[in-house]
């Protein structure tokens, strides 16, 4: 079979000692830069891509794959240890991961993230190799109405991340939706809620909001508590490695996360965050330990991290098969590919098989290197938590500010970071969950644009939203997710649900 021959050949090239070294360097650089909050994989790849130009095509392709996967992975470490998501796709990881870290289980949290990323990356890369042409057909079926239905489903399911009070959760969500309206409307080009400030014309950056709400808000909250802070951070309790129970609870979450993340990453308007939201909601519904959700459930780290990395590979599907870069990261990669004479497009697999399979082999090697690099480092990372609190939080403040200025050196950006930090602090004090604000900012514009496009195409006929089979199925699932808990509650099983919806913050 030609497919296997090409893959095997690619793996042989990638496994040469020199190339393994390049992979290791790429992964290390990618992880190191990806760890900085506010600096997502797109920026990481953009910053490091020029480094690869100096190598031969094989070596640079491999180092480049390492940077890509390293950058995708790097964000999770700070999410878990410092409650500071490095990028929007690791926001969900912070919810449970940081709770685990504070309970002395930072080691297993990091391990399940690393191994989950590896498993998801492995499966999704193989998926990229063998089923990309089919997945891309599925992705193209998704038009505005299907995307809108997917957004409705995402809104309904992420409500499980809303904490114990639906009203408070919805309040937070609507704060996020209101912030999402700021800026120029994409469909008509009119400015909304920008108050004549040009800096607001391009809206509010998701990473700025996330870093502000999580990191700055948290720091202020801790500082305001002074010495009375109740939670004594215990750096390590038990083993830094995953126990048998951790493994048993993680592996299914990894697989489910992969299955959710890969196709959503492949959709032209999908995005890694939506996969992580859906994965978190799925794990929360399926878990046998509902009481742990909100207090550090390992599934809540394993699933979203797997989804995150699977969607990273999914992004390559439309890029390689259609020449369609669907994310900023993919666009920068396109520039990278062009350096090697690779012209992504519908004919790529036919005209350039060696390069495509070389790239896929490189991704597999990089994925493996990521595991090799990160597992031994876990012991070192968790030591971060033993740093005295004042120093640790001063450091978080510094990195959060540095990352934001690094990504967008503007006074307004810094002002927004501080203002949203204060908002995050106030919401913590009054017991409002903060994740829904970020969720609203991410999903709001997507839902709005797709709804308006769908209605525009149908000339205002609302029934079009339900007549597509895919959209109808998604909406039915969303309705079920909304109604079934109500019925359960009505039948007197509310206690279970109250536990299910344990405090997230």
């Amino acid at each position: 079979m030609a497919t296997f021959d090409f893959l095997l050949q690619g793996l042989l090239v990638a496994a040469q000692p020199m190339n393994l070294l390049y992979a290791l360097i790429g992964v290390t650089l990618g992880t190191a830069v990806g760890v900085l909050p506010g600096i997502g994989p797109a920026l990481t790849v953009a910053l490091l891509l020029p480094v690869t130009y100096r190598l031969d095509p094989g070596g640079s392709l491999i180092m480049f794959a390492g940077i890509y996967y390293g950058g995708m992975y790097g964000g999770s470490t700070t999410s878990i240890l410092l409650n500071t998501p490095g990028e929007s796709a690791s926001i969900v990881t912070a919810l449970e991961g940081n709770k685990m870290a504070r309970a002395g289980r930072g080691g297993p949290a990091l391990a399940t993230a690393a191994i989950g990323s590896f498993v998801a990356g492995l499966i999704a890369t193989l998926g990229l190799a063998f089923i990309a042409p089919y997945i891309v057909k599925l992705a193209l079926v998704f038009g505005p109405r299907e995307y809108f239905a997917l957004m409705v489903l995402a809104f309904v399911t992420v409500s499980s991340a809303f904490g114990d009070s639906t009203l408070r959760g919805l309040t937070s969500l609507f704060v996020g939706l209101a912030l999402a309206v700021v800026g120029i409307d994409q469909l008509t080009g009119q400015a909304r809620l920008s108050f004549g400030v040009p800096e607001l014309l391009d809206g509010i950056e998701v990473t700025t909001l996330a870093v502000a709400m999580f990191a700055i808000g948290e720091t202020l909250f801790i500082a305001a508590q002074g010495d009375k802070g109740p939670d004594k951070v215990e750096a390590v309790r038990g083993s830094v490695w995953m126990s048998a129970a951790d493994w048993a609870r993680s592996w299914k979450a990894w697989l489910r996360g992969t299955v959710i993340g890969f196709p959503i990453g492949a959709m032209p308007a999908g995005g890694a965050e939506i996969g992580t939201f859906l994965s978190y909601a799925t794990e929360k519904r399926l878990t046998k330990h509902p009481e742990e959700f909100g207090n550090g459930a390992i599934e809540g780290v394993a699933g979203p991290e797997a989804a995150n990395n699977a969607s990273a590979a999914g992004t390559l599907v439309p890029l390689l098969t259609l020449g369609l870069p669907t994310t900023a990261t993919a666009a920068i990669m396109l520039a990278g590919f062009q350096q090697y004479g690779l012209q992504p497009g519908p004919l790529l697999f036919a005209t350039n098989p060696q390069l495509v399979w070389g790239l896929i082999a490189s991704l597999l090697i990089a994925n493996f290197m990521l595991l090799v690099l990160n597992l031994p480092l876990i012991g070192l990372w968790v030591k971060l938590l033993t740093i005295p609190k004042p120093w640790l939080y001063a450091g978080i403040l510094l990195f959060a500010t540095l990352g934001t200025i690094g990504a967008n050196p503007s006074v307004y950006e810094l002002g927004m970071l501080l203002a949203f930090g204060l908002l995050g602090y106030a919401m913590r004090v009054f017991g409002y969950p903060i994740a829904p604000v970020v969720v609203g900012l991410i999903l709001g514009p997507l839902a709005e644009q797709q709804l308006r496009r769908a209605l525009s195409i149908s000339q205002g006929d609302i029934t079009v939203l339900f007549t597509s089979p895919i959209a109808a199925v998604l909406l039915v699932i969303a309705a079920a997710a909304l109604i079934v808990p109500l019925i359960l509650r009505a039948r007197g099983r509310g206690e279970v649900l109250a536990q299910l919806a344990a405090s997230e913050d």
């Binding site: 830069v33 600096i39 920026l43 953009a46 910053l47 490091l48 020029p50 480094v51 130009y53 992705a139 193209l140 079926v141 998704f142 038009g143 505005p144 800026g183 120029i184 409307d185 994409q186 469909l187 008509t188 080009g189 009119q190 400015a191 004549g196 040009p198 800096e199 014309l201 391009d202 032209p268 308007a269 439309p318 259609l322 020449g323 369609l324 870069p325 669907t326 994310t327 900023a328 993919a330 666009a331 920068i332 396109l334 520039a335 062009q338 350096q339 012209q343 497009g345 519908p346 004919l347 200025i405 690094g406 990504a407 967008n408 050196p409 503007s410 496009r453 525009s456 195409i457 000339q459």
Partner: protein, 314 residues
């Protein structure tokens, strides 16, 4: 110089050789579209030809490039190493959006490329010719949905002109704006819309692969080696050319402006750039200095007339 700080740290840490001018190019559209392709081609050729050792491209998408333009004008003021890609689409968008920032607020350097618009339908579409499409449009203008770039851009203007030439009220067209050609391409490939209008280069690989059917191109003559009539030949009296330019930041000294202009001239004359023009199917429309400024003013006035004509600007 968006990532100047980090780039400096990284460059220092990895002991990369220092370069004279490290340009940052803003592509004011989503990845995959025409401006993005132009910016990334500039990046490649500038590095290849040794004009600049380290060029970064940054996407600031939305609203016909006016978001990127506004950000560029305010944040890069006086920065001689920042460039922005723009063009005809931006001229239209500034008018339709009543953008507070216009091309007068940056320093236009040179017009670089021209590209003809292509009208396409999905391969499975019942519409076989431009005539079929015009027929459908005449029957019910609202039932024909067109995907293209930002509201008020070249693609939108082209659709308005086609409607007008076909005797259909241009204000009745059902135009679905996407923030870039890449995103519109996915919608056309997925048969979400009736037809698509964007630069020929953005559809080229799909047309060659047979997944899109090319109905017509918008130039005065056919594109060499492409089997499709011009709009004029198809009975629609419309010629549209989407030109693209590069501009520098506002508030530059004359020396700084001259230095940037010299770099761009060197680029435009280089063999590497000519090669890019050939592979991307772009026309070489290099025009710089006062001649470009005069032409730009003429284009802005003409565009305003067209937009008013088709009801996009009141």
């Amino acid at each position: 110089m968006k990532h100047f700080f980090l780039a400096t740290i990284l460059a220092g840490a990895m002991a990369l050789p220092a370069f004279a001018a490290d340009y940052t190019i803003i592509a004011p559209a989503n990845p995959g579209g025409g401006w993005d392709q132009t910016a990334r081609s500039l990046q490649t050729v500038m590095q290849q030809e040794g004009i600049s050792g380290n060029v970064q491209v940054q996407n600031v998408p939305g609203a016909g490039g006016t978001i990127g333009l506004a950000q560029f004008a305010s944040q890069q003021k006086g920065n001689p190493n920042a460039l922005i890609v723009g063009g005809y689409v931006m001229v239209g968008a500034i008018l339709t959006n009543k953008s507070p920032v216009t091309l007068k607020d940056v320093t236009p350097i040179a017009r670089l490329t021209g590209e003809y618009e292509a009208v396409v339908v999905p391969a499975a579409s019942e519409i076989k010719t431009m005539g079929d499409l015009v027929e459908a449009l005449k029957k019910d203008p609202g039932a024909v949905s067109w995907a293209g770039g930002s509201a008020g851009g070249t693609d939108h203007i082209a659709v308005g002109l086609i409607a007008k030439a076909a005797g259909v009220d241009p204000t009745k067209i059902n135009y679905i704006a996407y923030s870039g050609g890449g995103e519109a391409l996915a919608a056309i490939l997925g048969s979400q819309v009736t037809a698509g209008v964007s630069g020929y280069g953005e559809f080229e690989s799909q047309i060659k692969a047979g997944t899109l059917r090319l109905l017509a191109v918008s130039g005065p003559e056919r594109i060499a080696g492409v089997d499709a009539p011009t709009l004029k030949e198809a009975g629609v009296d419309v010629v549209v050319e989407n030109w693209r330019m590069v501009a520098a930041a506002p508030g530059l000294t004359d020396e700084q402006k001259a230095a940037v202009s010299a770099d761009i001239e060197k680029l435009a004359k280089s063999a590497g750039w000519q090669e890019v023009l050939k592979t991307k199917g772009w026309q070489d429309s290099y025009l710089a200095g006062d001649a470009f400024n005069a032409q730009l003013e003429k284009d802005v006035a003409a565009t305003e007339g067209v937009l008013k004509d088709i009801g996009l600007v009141k």
